[in-house]
Structure formats: structure tokens, C-alpha cells
């Protein structure tokens, strides 16, 4: 690589591309650590409330559609595969493949959001299980069920917000890739966007059993 190319690809505070890459990854991982504790606070309070109000949480959980939850889990796992392949394509400098995989990842993300909002949230709203706007459930443990649904909407809402941000990042990456911003050895943005995307997938991997499955379905 010529000195001139090197200057355009490596910011002046870094010695070389490797150091620049490691700094970008480390920065993203540190951000993800803060995200773990951000969601962790909600997971901890969910655990405590579920422990204190188990009967209502069980009833509430049984009102959710397992099929949609499982479908969305599969959709996110597929999106993680295409994201991993997008990063791989970027590593190898295959820009056409990179754009293709990013587009597929974005589409999976949008499918997830469609199922979450148009299928699930709409269904729960119409069922009268949306605290604050339409909560008409009057069976046993009504207040506890309401508490469960509040956790459900806050947790899935916060996760969906991360998905929306993720879709924005995908769109940005696609535009950057089309403009020729990435090349072999110069793809840090794709790498760390991938880390974020997989993290959001992991949050859902825990949300699915905690909200839909715990309490059993038998």
C-alpha cells in the first residue's frame, strides 16, 4: 500500500489499520457492555416481579402468541447469519456480496418489526391487554397480569427501538457501500454494526423464553 492510500484509510491517531480496527471493536464492545446493564436492569426487575407475582405472570404469558414469538426468533437468527456473511464479504473485499447481504439483513429486520407491531402488538391491543390504552382483562390476578403486560410492552418496545436503530444503520451501510466507502481491510463500520446487530439478536434470544415460554405451555 502506498503512503497516500495509507493516509486516507487510517486516521492520524492510529499507527496502522490493525490498531484502528481493534480500537473500533473495543469501543463497540464497551458500548454493548453498557447496553447489557441497560437491559439488565429491566431483566432484573422482571425477574423480581415474576418471583413476587408468579400466578399473574403465568396467565399473562399464556396470552402471548408463542408461534409469532418463535417465528420472530427464527427471523432474527436468519438476519444474524446474513449479517455475519455481510461482515465476511466485507473482510474479503467482495462489495457486491456485502451489499446483497446487508439488504437481506435489512429485510429480515423489517419482517421482525412487522410481525412485532402489526401482528403481536395489534393483537394484544385488540384483546384488551394493553395497559393504559385498552386494558379490559378482568379475570383472576388482573393487576398482576397488567404488570406482566407492562413489562412485555416496555421490554419488547425497547428491543424494537433497537431494531429500528439497527435498520437505520443497515440503510446507512448500504448507501455507504454503494458509494464505495468500503474496501478490503477497510470495513470497520460494517464490523461494529454487525456486533450491534448480533447483540440485539441476543437480547431477543433471552426475551423469547422469558416472556413467551416461562411458566410452561402444557
Amino acid at each position: 500500500m502506498s503512503e497516500e492510500q495509507h493516509a486516507t484509510l487510517v486516521a492520524e491517531q492510529f499507527d496502522d489499520q490493525v490498531q484502528q480496527y481493534q480500537a473500533a471493536s473495543l469501543g463497540m464492545w464497551v458500548f454493548l457492555t453498557t447496553e447489557v446493564l441497560f437491559f439488565g436492569g429491566l431483566f432484573a426487575s422482571y425477574t423480581i416481579y415474576r418471583y413476587l407475582h408468579y400466578p399473574g405472570f403465568e396467565i399473562g404469558s399464556h396470552h402471548l402468541e408463542v408461534l409469532w414469538g418463535a417465528t420472530n426468533t427464527a427471523v432474527l437468527i436468519c438476519s444474524s447469519l446474513t449479517m455475519a456473511l455481510a461482515v465476511r464479504a466485507a473482510q474479503l473485499g467482495k462489495i457486491k456480496d456485502l451489499i446483497g447481504f446487508l439488504v437481506v439483513t435489512l429485510i429480515f429486520g423489517l419482517i421482525f418489526l412487522f410481525i412485532k407491531f402489526a401482528m403481536e402488538w395489534r393483537h394484544e391491543y385488540l384483546e384488551g391487554l394493553a395497559p393504559g390504552v385498552n386494558f379490559t382483562y378482568a379475570g383472576p390476578h388482573a393487576h398482576q397480569v397488567e404488570m406482566f403486560m407492562i413489562f412485555y410492552f416496555v421490554l419488547t418496545g425497547l428491543h424494537a427501538l433497537h431494531m429500528i436503530v439497527g435498520c437505520g444503520i443497515m440503510t446507512t451501510l448500504i448507501i455507504l457501500a454503494l458509494r464505495g466507502a468500503f474496501s478490503k481491510g477497510h470495513y470497520n463500520a460494517v464490523e461494529i454494526a454487525g456486533l450491534y446487530w448480533h447483540f440485539v439478536d441476543i437480547v431477543w434470544i433471552f426475551l423469547f423464553p422469558l416472556l413467551y415460554l416461562i411458566g410452561g405451555r402444557y
Binding site: M1, L9, Q17, Y21, Q22, S25, L26, W29, V30, L32, T33, V36, L37, G40, G41, F43, A44, T47, I48, Y51, L52, H53, Y54, P55, G56, V66, A70, T73, A74, I77, S80, L81, M83, A84, R88, Q91, L92, H141, K184, G185, H186, E191, G194, L195, H198, F199, D201, I202, I205, F206, F208, P209, L210, Y212, L213, I214, G215, G216, R217, Y218
Partner: protein, 123 residues
Amino acid sequence: MSELVSHVERKKVYVLVWVVLLCFTALTTGVAYIDLGAFNTVVALAIAVCKASIVVLFFMHLRHSEKLIRLVVGVAVFWLCILIVISLSDFATRFRISRPSWPQSQPVTVHHLDMSPGTTTAE
């Protein structure tokens, strides 16, 4: 052309990881329909931890990351454990009468009341 700055995983590995993750999803959904008592929760969480570990190790390249990044991940898990375990060590050790929703089918027994000072007048 510049050197590669990170390890490139084989495509086959990613596809295999994807298949395993989908199998785990089917497994965790299926197990929820079998009555295992308290172990339903244990199994569901164990599978979730396995899935998350696989994603972190393979998709997020932790397998080939430097030690500093492994340390950051370890710190994240450690602090999350502090948050949840120490919070629960309070709530899980309180006596039952202080739990507002303890099921009616499991009445508070004298034994439990004896554990708490100031409530000895109850039957």
C-alpha cells in the same frame, strides 16, 4: 493490497451455527409444552445461555478476539450477575407472608410465621 485485519471464518461454520441456533429455538419452544415443573425455567434459560454464547463466540468473533475484548465481555457478564443475584438474594430470602401474591392454595403456615418477629399472634 493491505493485509487482512481480522480472522475470516469459513462460510460453512456460519451456516452450521445458524442451523444449531434454529434447532435450539425449536427445542426451547417444544420443551415448553412438556411439564418439567420448576425445570421448565431452568431448561429455557440454559438453552438461551447456550444460544447467546454461540452467537457471541462465532457471529461476534469472540473466538478470535484479543484478550482485552474477552475481558470486556467477561466484565459485562459479571456485572449483570451482580445486578441480578444480589437483588434476588434480598427478595428470595424474605419470608412468605411479605409476598403479596403467595397463592391461596399454599396457606402461610405457623412455621413460616415463627420465622418473623412480631407476628406470633397469627394462627
